[in-house]
């Protein structure tokens, strides 16, 4: 089952990745090959099988709702490429109108 190029571009957009047309075609070929292999899972009858997401032996590992020391703001911001001491700085959500 061949992935089409539109699907590849749509997926890239969902994943917030910018890919060129050449890259899109390369990924299309590679992902098709991988998905072809993965499709053999269809052969298995899993009608009455529950999904298993967590192999640990824990459910709802909760803690008490009390305030404990956490990362200081300065430390949390120290790797931000653009910050003003209080905020992360980012470009506007919408493109600027012409000035």
């Amino acid at each position: 089952m061949d992935l089409d190029i539109e699907t590849v571009k749509k997926v890239a957009q969902l994943a917030k990745l910018k890919i060129s047309d050449t890259e899109a075609e390369q990924f299309r070929v590679q992902l098709t090959a991988v998905l072809d292999h993965i499709n053999h899972l269809e052969r298995l009858d899993t009608e009455s099988v529950e999904p298993l997401a967590n192999v640990g032996d824990l459910t709802n590992a909760l803690r008490s709702d009390s305030v404990t020391p956490s990362l200081a703001r300065e430390a949390a911001l120290q790797n931000a490429p653009k910050q003003d001491g209080d905020h992360l700085l980012v470009p506007p959500v919408f493109a600027s109108e012409q000035k």
Binding site: L44, P51, D57, A75, P92
Partner: protein, 480 residues
């Protein structure tokens, strides 16, 4: 020297930590330009720590578990204020504001952190060739891959640069490099070692674990790094372990299951022969060898590459050019910032996996792929539970082949993925698994055997590995 031997020598006063650390630094200086295991070496910090520990020892202060022993750390385990790049341009300048729990434990045990080792970018790969930063070569044959994703951590132990190192294993990334590099590597039971401070790839699969030359040394490190951690909500309350206590004793009435599906062809003949010889060796030591089936083994790679990539697509969404990591200069809107930063910062394999995971989770495909894979995951775990009713542990090859050549599989992602066929299952089921050396092929490349045990049987696995290493010497051989 092994870590255990180093501790004994320091205790006896025949050496010091500073001497040992200098020895490591010299070997790194001499060999690493050819091998490329290290991304960075903490020369001053390591020597300073070594001297302090030596001083504490001569002052008669209590000696802790790894006092003065040098260790290398895979570059996705956070060390405070030191570059933790995950083998990626995305985090090439990232300095974590905290230490990973395992680092805190190693520091409390007085281990000396020597440096950071190379890896496949964000732990995605089976050869370390996906590192965006440098190439690592197999010390047994520099034209071959060291395995991945923990290739640097395996290579530096194999080349005797350090006695022990930490790696991580999501689908085989400790065991397969251990196999390719002729050393021992352990993936602990899921939940045994805290993932706090481990940069996440696939949260239900990732585990930190040790590399060493002997099961005894693996046990030493495991006992230090294991333990419940409230900061990791997947950390098990029964995580703590004293595997050392079991190691000195010989296992009684051991039943070992030889995995039938690994005998179905598709395995390099030298590898099959070595595993068969190992079974005979275990039988000589009194173990009962039975044939056991893991009926869903052939579906492991597919299941893994759905589950892992889906989880990765979520975990890697945090790299957005805003919080930390690479930021593009070419963005005028927020969406552009995300797209260009991520596209500039991530390599091809990372993008491939994010896209595969995004596709498998997207509307219309979620049931066919992600949900389906989780159901097969349960079948795989049930296969193990059934097997462990008949046997104490399972034996088989770690990988279908010995180390492949650098460049051999880089243009065929699926071929690369298929080299994980025997290792992914243990991560999917959450059980412990170990790879130890068991022979060499006709090109003098190491062969690894994999032992797998029930959840929380890490100590028993180490005990079984130690039994084998007590009567064979594969693990003692070193590259020229």
């Amino acid at each position: 020297m092994t870590a255990t031997e180093m501790l004994a020598a320091m205790e006896a006063g025949t050496t010091t930590s500073e001497t040992l650390v200098r020895g490591c630094l010299e070997r790194i200086e001499k060999l690493d330009s050819d091998i490329g295991a290290f991304l960075s070496v903490r020369e001053d910090a390591a020597l300073s720590a070594a001297r302090e520990i030596d001083q504490r020892r001569s002052d008669g202060k209590p000696i802790v578990a790894l006092a003065g022993v040098p260790i290398a750390i895979k570059d996705l385990i956070c060390i405070q204020d030191e570059i933790t790049s995950c083998g990626s341009k995305m985090l090439a300048n990232y300095r974590p504001p905290f230490n990973a729990t395992v680092i805190e434990k190693l520091i409390a045990a007085d281990a000396v952190l020597i440096g950071r080792t190379n890896m496949d970018e964000f732990a995605m790969g089976s050869s370390t060739e996906n590192s965006a930063l440098k190439l690592t070569r197999n010390p047994w044959d520099v034209s071959k891959a060291p395995g991945g994703s923990s290739g640097g951590s395996a290579a530096c132990v194999a080349a005797d640069m350090v006695p022990i190192s930490l790696g991580t294993d999501t689908g085989g990334s400790i065991r397969q490099p251990a196999s390719f590099c002729g050393i021992s590597g352990l993936k602990p039971t899921y939940g045994r070692v805290s993932r706090f401070g481990l940069v996440a790839f696939a949260s239900s699969l990732d585990q930190i674990g040790p590399f060493a030359k002997t099961a005894e040394d693996l046990s030493l490190v495991l006992d230090v790094i294991a333990g419940h951690d409230a900061r990791d909500s997947t950390s098990s309350p029964q995580a703590g372990i004293k595997s050392k206590d079991l190691l000195g004793k010989s296992p009684q009435g051991l039943r070992i299951g030889r995995i039938k599906e690994c005998l179905d062809g598709g395995v390099q003949s030298a590898v099959s022969q070595a595993i068969e010889s190992a079974c005979q060796e275990f039988a000589k030591q009194g173990a009962e060898i039975v044939d056991v089936s893991l009926p869903h083994l052939e579906y492991g790679v597919s299941t893994y590459y759905v589950v892992a990539t889906c989880e990765a697509s979520g975990n890697l969404a945090r790299y957005d050019g805003a919080h930390f990591g690479h930021r593009s200069n070419d963005a005028t809107t927020l969406a552009e910032l995300y797209e260009t930063s991520r596209s500039e910062g991530f390599g091809a394999e990372v993008k491939r996996r994010i896209m595969l995971g995004t596709y498998a989770l997207s509307a219309g495909y979620y049931d066919a792929y992600y949900n389906k894979a989780l159901k097969v995951r349960r079948l795989i775990r049930d296969d193990y539970r059934n097997a462990f009713q008949k046997v104490d542990c399972l034996i088989g090859p770690t990988s279908p082949t010995t180390a492949f050549a650098l460049g051999e599989r880089t243009s065929d992602p699926l071929a690369m993925y298929l080299s994980d066929v025997y290792t992914v299952l243990a991560n999917l089921a959450g059980i412990p698994a170990i790879s130890i050396p068991c022979g060499f092929d006709e090109n003098n490349l190491p062969i690894g055997l994999q032992l797998q045990g029930p959840a929380y049987a890490d100590a028993e696995l180490l005990q079984t590995a130690a039994l084998y290493q007590g009567v064979t010497d594969w693990h003692v051989r070193r590259p020229a």
